[in-house]
Symmetry: C2
Subunit: 339 residues, 2 copies
DNA sequence: GTGAAAGCGCTAACAG
DNA sequence: CTGTTAGCGCTTTCAC
């Protein structure tokens, strides 16, 4: 509904109104508007100009019903507070939104935790979306199972256990291995690792990459300074304490959140970076870039990640064939924190 | 669509299928499912059990069309990169999603910049949402104007220029005034201020609150150490440099992003907080809480802000009457950075 | 090139 | 308490 200049409320004008006003059939108007089917140049112009003048806007709901298609895509983002602390998900979402908008799709978000995917379920069961993007892949991935069972097209950002799922990802293992071996070759002797929740596949890959980096340099990682599953700040703190008791040259963290915490801890103890200990992170962020000193890290284009996921999903929805696994680039940013 | 145990693809079952199978009319089935209208206990159970057994799920699109209602709400979040750096918008979004889900509404997001609100327009014009939540209020608020013109129910988070718009907000001016006067009364003499983009109303209120804090203490603020419209990191840096040339006891920043930058700058110059200069922020964040020392700041429950906005909008959509302006609480967190 | 009619799946009078 | 009927607004055969 909208108002005219007198402030009266006007009901939305429908295809029927246009047809009657122009003495045409709904069919013709529909064809003129959608551009599908043959309509004479004259009538098309007539319809189009009338539509513009009277501000006719096709009702997407009705179109959806007729098409059995919603032109919506669902995006699942983690609802936990920790996830809100890293800009990753918001950036992915922005990337998805931008691409979706350019294809005339809208984006529905479902906030889900590891244990509660009810809003994803509602959205899918109610037929509110044509497909779904998962922004985090889990070891026990109930969203993936649900979507497969419901036979809904979906794309996972990150690596999935399910080998048939379409995924858009970085080669995390390669990136982490690359960074680790660069650091080793720079002459750093003893490197500690702190990675987060192992339920998130990405953290497993970070560990794998770390180990592979050592392997490639014909070195063996010291298991006593590797801390996996550090899913909370106290756990990070405790890892740091233990690390500082050993004679460690460098700490690599799984992500920016952990890294931030490590840096705070080091500052509290007046330990200088990189003077007394070097620090690097397997995931970059604004904060790490602006730290003093800036932190060596792996950089990925998260916005593009979202965009590619959206493009892929839309192709999938439209029945196109897509690559089962799309790998995006990464880059290693060597900064002062490891010199 | 879903698959049965043999992997065959089953078409979705509709209300018609249920009706035929049970030898009832669509109406009766509809009533049994929706719970509206009188149906005998017996037939209701019959329908319900058949529905469950055959996994019948009503099609939300069809219901939308019949109701002329989508059961979706739109949320506009800023698409600019800076906004992605603060968890504010993601938290608000989570709050909205949670509340919306509990009322069986879904959430569509429109990423919009100050200059491009095309995705908001699409979403509204296509009738994809019943109402909209704006998560940031602007001085020149094209979203507000558009929504008023389209006669779509909407709620603004933050203070709006438009006096008729429904808004959910904190009393920013009061909060900032409160914090400022507390600091003054603690004996701090010279206080500098750095606030961001004045296009955002919230930054204007922060300035107002700062000034009011001085007034209430019968003091006059020193305009030469007030920096407004510091919308980028270089501008913050330059403000800090100028401040450090004057004899300033304390820097108050408009938000956590600016504060983070100020802290980095101070660290670079080896200026200790609070020893040589005190620091406080008009907006709290995880990072500031975990800083060493923790930063004095204003804390607001952003998740609840989103939730309240959603509740209010849904009430509005349902034709209920709502308060035109809802003020949420804030609290002042006094931390070591200002002792 | 244009139109009539059926239908997408569900809801809501209006009758019985 | 249940069924009939007519839409919601748009798309899409199938004729002319």
């Amino acid at each position: 509904m909208t108002e005219n200049k007198n402030g009266e409320i006007l009901k939305d004008i429908t295809i029927n109104d246009v047809a009657k006003a122009l003495n045409l059939s709904k069919t013709t108007v529909s064809r003129a508007i959608s551009g599908k089917g043959r309509v004479s140049e004259a009538t098309r112009n007539l319809v189009l100009s009338y539509a513009k003048e009277h501000n006719y806007m096709p009702n997407a709901i009705a179109r959806s019903l007729a098409h059995s298609k919603t032109f919506n895509i669902g995006v699942v983002i983690p609802s936990d507070a920790d996830a809100a602390e890293t800009p990753f998900f918001q950036r992915v979402l922005m990337g998805i939104c931008e691409t979706a908008a350019s294809r005339d799709y809208d984006v529905l978000v479902a906030a889900s935790s590891e244990h509660d995917i009810s809003s994803l379920k509602r959205m899918v069961i109610n037929h509110k979306v044509d497909g779904v993007i998962l922004t985090r892949s889990l070891k026990h991935d109930s969203p993936v199972e649900f979507l497969k069972q419901m036979n809904v097209p979906f794309v996972v950002i990150g690596e999935t256990v399910d080998k048939n799922a379409v995924q858009v990802d970085n080669d995390m293992t390669a990136a982490c291995s690359e960074m680790t071996s660069i650091l080793i070759r720079m002459g750093i002797k003893s490197i500690a690792l702190i990675v987060g929740n192992l339920e998130y596949i990405v953290n497993r890959r970070r560990y794998d990459g770390f180990m592979r980096g050592f392997l490639e340099c014909d070195r063996i990682a010291d298991q006593s300074i590797i801390f996996q599953n550090a899913g909370s700040m106290p756990m990070v703190d405790s890892a740091v304490s233990k690390i500082l008791k050993k004679n460690v040259d460098c700490i690599i963290t799984g992500d920016d959140l952990i890294c931030g915490r490590v840096l705070t801890k080091l500052r509290e103890k007046n330990i200088s970076v990189p003077g007394e200990i070097k620090v690097a992170s397997f995931y970059n962020s604004f904060m790490l870039e602006n730290n003093n000193p800036p932190i060596t890290s792996i950089n990925i284009d998260v916005h593009a990640l979202g965009g590619t996921a959206a493009t892929t999903l839309i192709k999938l929805i439209s029945g196109g064939s897509v690559q089962r696994k799309i790998i995006m680039n990464h880059e290693i940013l060597l900064k002062k924190s490891t010199v």
